[in-house]
Symmetry: C2
Subunit: 946 residues, 2 copies
Amino acid sequence: MAEVVGFSSMDELVEATVPKPIKRGPMSLPGKFHEGLTESQMIDHMKYLAAKNKIAKSYIGMGYYNTIVPPVILRNIMENPGWYTQYTPYQAEIAQGRLESLLNYQTMIAELTGLPMSNASLLDEGTAAAEAMGMCLNIGSRKRPKFLIASNCHPQTIDVCVTRADGLGMTASIVDPDKFEFSKDVCGVLVQYPATDGSITDYASLISSAHANGVKVVVATDLLALTCLKPPGEIGADMAVGSAQRFGVPLGYGGPHAAFLATSQEYKRMMPGRIIGVSVDSNGKPALRMALQTREQHIRRDKATSNICTAQALLANMSAMYAVYHGPEGLKAIADRVHGLATVFSEGVKKLGYQVGSDPFFDTVKVSASNASSLAETAAKEGINLRVLDANTVTVAFDETITLEDVDNLFKVFAKGKRVNFTAESLAPSAGSSLPKEMVRESAYLTHPIFNSYHSEHELLRYLHRIQAKDLSLVHSMIPLGSCTMKLNATVEMMPVTFPEFANIHPFAPLDQTGGYQEMFKNLGDFLCEITGFDSVSLQPNAGAAGEYTGLMVIRAYQKAKGEGHRNVCIIPVSAHGTNPASAAMCGMKIVSIGTDANGNVDIAELKQAAEANKDNLSALMVTYPSTHGVYEDGIDDICDIIHKNGGQVYMDGANMNAQVGLTSPGFIGADVCHLNLHKTFCIPHGGGGPGMGPIGVKKHLTPFLPSHPVVSTGGIPPSSEKAQPLGTISAAPWGSALILPISYTYIAMMGSEGLTSASKLAILNANYMAKRLENHYRILFRGKNGTCAHEFIVDLRAFKATANIEPEDVAKRLIDYGFHAPTMSWPVHGTLMIEPTESESKAELDRFCDAMISIREEIRAIENGTCNAADNVLKGAPHSASMVLSDKWNKPYSRKLAAYPATWVESSKFWPSTGRVDNVYGDRNLVCTLINGDATPAEERVATA
Amino acid sequence: MAEVVGFSSMDELVEATVPKPIKRGPMSLPGKFHEGLTESQMIDHMKYLAAKNKIAKSYIGMGYYNTIVPPVILRNIMENPGWYTQYTPYQAEIAQGRLESLLNYQTMIAELTGLPMSNASLLDEGTAAAEAMGMCLNIGSRKRPKFLIASNCHPQTIDVCVTRADGLGMTASIVDPDKFEFSKDVCGVLVQYPATDGSITDYASLISSAHANGVKVVVATDLLALTCLKPPGEIGADMAVGSAQRFGVPLGYGGPHAAFLATSQEYKRMMPGRIIGVSVDSNGKPALRMALQTREQHIRRDKATSNICTAQALLANMSAMYAVYHGPEGLKAIADRVHGLATVFSEGVKKLGYQVGSDPFFDTVKVSASNASSLAETAAKEGINLRVLDANTVTVAFDETITLEDVDNLFKVFAKGKRVNFTAESLAPSAGSSLPKEMVRESAYLTHPIFNSYHSEHELLRYLHRIQAKDLSLVHSMIPLGSCTMKLNATVEMMPVTFPEFANIHPFAPLDQTGGYQEMFKNLGDFLCEITGFDSVSLQPNAGAAGEYTGLMVIRAYQKAKGEGHRNVCIIPVSAHGTNPASAAMCGMKIVSIGTDANGNVDIAELKQAAEANKDNLSALMVTYPSTHGVYEDGIDDICDIIHKNGGQVYMDGANMNAQVGLTSPGFIGADVCHLNLHKTFCIPHGGGGPGMGPIGVKKHLTPFLPSHPVVSTGGIPPSSEKAQPLGTISAAPWGSALILPISYTYIAMMGSEGLTSASKLAILNANYMAKRLENHYRILFRGKNGTCAHEFIVDLRAFKATANIEPEDVAKRLIDYGFHAPTMSWPVHGTLMIEPTESESKAELDRFCDAMISIREEIRAIENGTCNAADNVLKGAPHSASMVLSDKWNKPYSRKLAAYPATWVESSKFWPSTGRVDNVYGDRNLVCTLINGDATPAEERVATA
Ligand SMILES: Cc1ncc(COP(=O)(O)O)c(C=O)c1O
Ligand SMILES: Cc1ncc(COP(=O)(O)O)c(C=O)c1O
Ligand SMILES: O=C([O-])O
């Protein structure tokens, strides 16, 4: 392959491609990891770590509950590459399955919260609350900079919001909700329902007074409780946020889980994150796709409603399927049982002489105990985790996994050695609901047939596979998305994720129960430091964009600590990913854009000018390396120098680390901080739009400022040698989505130092090989000095608009007919496709993709030379669903066979798009973002009458 | 639903359906299992059992080796319902994926053994050897009744053959292969290569002399060794047998594993088991299907080449994919490494002063040790299992999981506390191959592109999913196969199968390492006794047919013990499954057929006459209950009486236990022995043609005769109170396919006594509901007294031949267009379909299937009334593949849409058959049963030139 590209070997190609000055010395992972473990050794090592985690019965609650993952969902979604390797559903025609599932999720959230608009997941409950806070600020036109947070919210929610408020330039005050004052500068308030101590308050009148004063109300809430309690929408809330974790997603020591945010129709255009909506396809049939994308960072950049990009699609799907499986009655039965257990426990401890909280509760009982900590320690010895609320109070939170026998064990602990002369079973019959009538939910929910048809395992299994069959994923073909690094997620890397000793750990479990996790964090920290050339990492951010925000906040904290808190200018090249300006905006930064030169490189002269002009206020540069154009810029060390000389810090976007690992490193190049997308470079599968992890690495001077956590204190890994001055809290869980860290950990540990370096080289070789094969057919934009590209390259399609009336979308949709997912479209350059093959694809697969592209080029040529109709041709008609090509009426100027079978390989194995081309505009004009109740084909009627 | 059938409740329907005299009292499973466990409790219980199994490093060998199951195969085949819930590929058009995989398997076996014809798996190595012995008998026209078995074969192989020989009326003698005498009465010999003690002998001259005397030679062999050793075919063997287990299938305490049997073209029509072959479809394109079915029991009955029906398809697929993944070079590298480790070990123990065997070896080293047992015991304490060959000899067998460190641990054990002054690593460089040149393989193998393209995880993953997409399974729709009971295999039941503590246990591990298995066997024995009304069960038979053979052999042993060894008549109704007469034939029985009356019941008068006529020699009756016609025969107790009165024993075929469990039982009815198909009634998935388990239950008087095992002695569970007089050995492993027993075990334990009973009732209700819906459209054959059927029923299609030229096959193939697998076709009554819905299907699914059948009835009516062409219509054209309906030339008298989308549900989710109707006759006339080397589309050319 190297020879095709014009080099005698892969190493020679790499030599010619990576600029000399930035070439690092050989990488050296610690100890046995340097050589790399075999798959069998790896599994043994993960079992060794697993054995160091102790699974206790958790009654901690605080937004995290044990749950029973229905095995049919565990095996057929969570452990199934057909689901977990999907990409975000940008190509709607080959994503109708997960789009339907996410629409189910939105419907579930909307109906349980009583608020009609839900997005398709956020990163966690804490950030969902922070996003809602940001919405309140925007609804108040940024003129009301105060936000009140009820003091009985979860502590991690509070801290995430306070940190976020700081970045946004607003103040968040923690106040007893009874003492809220709705002054003119207050844009919104956050209350929690049920509260962190389990108590339930009727917020109807609080909401009325808030509204009377122009203040918006966000309610953090619990989906299971909402099957019993009047939903936030019915008591007037403007927004509801929370976590869907307890709907069938493992605790995972904190994540990943899907969080939700629902609101009224009024504020839908201000919502953060992805929203799935109903539209129509080219045949006028209903079809789903992502709606209202103009709110998002990839279009609106710093004016976006949020920086969120990768979210928690896979987990949202799991939770939605949990609801589909149990249905409304099943969920209610689970809720009643949980509430019943809490009630039985409450009655029992009262008998034992304890005082319990007087407020109504759903699943969490507050118990006064003279020495709460010692009680909790005794309990822990019995494998029972209680929450110490304060010196004299514990709370005990129940979930669907608890049995009457477990409650008896609780009684034993609370009896402190005394005999218990009753049993949970004996108390059960007389324990009635403690919910006040006026707060009991009366409205129906989940009435759509989808939530009422698949309650047996066979039916759910078939539903899962039916919709999976509509979705193209890595099990079908390469997904060569530039910048997204859709690479192999080896099965062995996925296996520890569902080891119970990793999956069933509460994020706030005592540290002595999480030795395996801690050892893995430490090792992973060491790995990532070695890989990035940094001194410490934080594992808290849950996605790349969250990493960007964290990194900038670290810089900000550092500059503040130095007395340079006024520095607020962030220089960002126009070619940067939309999340960069969106994240900078979240840190209150002023963005100065700079352009690129003809070769796609940052215009260094312009950069220098901008840096010098903003010298006094320069906070940071955000730069991607290799550039988003797929080129190793020669001047990157100069660029870092310029920024440093002008008092700024260099933030490196690590999305392109797949071209750096082992060859160079952000630290070596001169960056001060960078995030890593573990879901790109480090093998966490994309899950159809998340989960991800975006840890950041920093240089020594920044280590004291890494985020901590209010419940479990943490900081850099390894810890800073200086006194910690954490910037605050970024995520609800101390180590973000800890459960998926084993994927990246095992990837690195098995590859070893040399393996990782070879992977980067191979990624470069693959990209250059494809570029070479395609250059005789397409114009390839931007190459480096020696005519090579980095790990990705851009194919220019702009000319075809004039010559053949062909747009990138036509090529993208035509690729579907060939069985491929399109490369990244029109980013970073409009009118182009950006191809990233990664190291994990075979030459055969690269060739197959090139063959498809070349064949499409010939199809375009046929239009150019007049052989084919410019208005009606295989590209404009693409993609062609089965129902289109077997329609009895066929009035296309080309054949059915050419439409559906344009290449030999599709004849033996065809992936059928399930719709014709989806109309984006129609859907945004006729917004429908939930299933329509009682109608199995939601949009059909709307469409008919539209 | 009951009301539709004309009853007020399910119980009333059951009351009216099951004859009063046979109704049993309520079932009562022992202890906590009576109530039934929840899924969570079940998993906890299985973990408790798992913890009682101890995984040791096994060096026992004897045909069972540790292996690394490639995780991509583990997750995407073994744990994937898309693969494991497939049915045997009788409907070839919706089974091309697994047919291709099985063709790969046959190719792998053929090329590694050097014998061109392989079948698609047998039950285990022991029975494969026994089948080969049977072939030798038949090749010798049953006129040479002696068979010689080399004394250095595995002991379990020897015992299985000796037992089988006894049944077949031949004698098998165990002889040192050096002393073989090829007399005129010898039909064949069995040698093992490498032998059980690891030694390798060149059998070329032995084979020549055998052939010179008209004696056939069977070689039991090892696939991994054959990558290095001259294959049996090249040294002249007539047949090769063995196990494919070490190609990526877990030990599983003995099974399930795929065994193989390969032979020359000459004997192909005498082979047992399923054979996949290449044929063409209705478009003249190559297509696969099962070949030479006329050899098999379902057609040839007692004249069949074997009784085998369910085999080991899933495991054959796993092994084939292991070879696809590693490819010829990868396999050779594994073999070289294993051989290298054995050599290093051999050198090392010599240095420690031991004497090792002087013969060449591949992976097993024979070591003289004065007190072999005590050495083995010491080793076991270190977690190392050795094989004690005799008082002064151990053998040490290596496999791909062993490392140099493991070899060092062996040295430590053999050094008995003395210091070892070398390491395995230090010996490795000088340890050369010990194989004599003339025995080294020179021929190539696995040269086809399929074995040389998918060596990366991505490529294999995609290959697996690509072919899976061609196969209809329970993930798509119900598979209503009468008599086959394709029911739900709940995920939670599947999970323990891949717990390492169940998967990684050698079948001959010391009993104190298998406490979990033993406890499960005991409980399962108790469960099955309670369910069947018997006193003891044997878990040894690996499929239903093997159970039949075992049951009849038990009867035979009992009668012999009573001095009635002359009893050899077996009465079998004509409606019996083909395995019944085939099994009886294997026990040397004379079959007397009896007919059925107009209601499908056994003709009692005829039975009585036959029994009385054969009074003196009557051995047994084989009877299925409810009958294969789906009816609870009223006279079953009379039938049992008649047989008993005439000195016979009643063998009940338990295939229809799904209509008995909890309502009646074989023991209660009066049977003496019966087999259970755990892969029907008790939820083991069908795996595309196996694995299965066919344990038998017996009355007290038969318990002493249950099979034992030469290596690990076993017998009935619970054991007989009398002295054991075991009939011999049935399977290679003491408890058959132990690894899949957790499936049935958890099913029973979770259902509890009442749950199991309800399942039977629901199965009856579902069948009656469907029969009711269909009776206005089709003639339903045979119902019981109250107009009800049992758990299955027969739809009569015979009339349509005359009215519309329509055959059952046309209906079966048309069902594919509707997304369904056909019911059982033309059995037990020619010209019919037999439908069994099972309890696990929802009403919605039953209705969908009925809707399809009714719609097809209307399509037939259109032919009957002349609206449609009798020669060219949707039924004759079925199934319609995608490439057919989108062909540019469409000259059918019906529309493309009608062809492919005959029902609303296929419009939203279509399962496409990957070929047109497959031509069976063509393939048998042009037999090709392997991939054609160097040609990716094997049959295309043959077809073109045919
Ligand atoms: C260059 C670049 N930066 C940042 C991101 C944001 O990462 P995430 O989606 O994990 O938030 C992306 C995602 O595609 C990216 O390509
Ligand atoms: C009535 C009957 N008996 C026996 C068998 C043989 O069982 P197995 O395929 O497990 O050998 C079958 C299998 O279909 C059957 O239906
Ligand atoms: O797993 C499936 O690809 O259906």
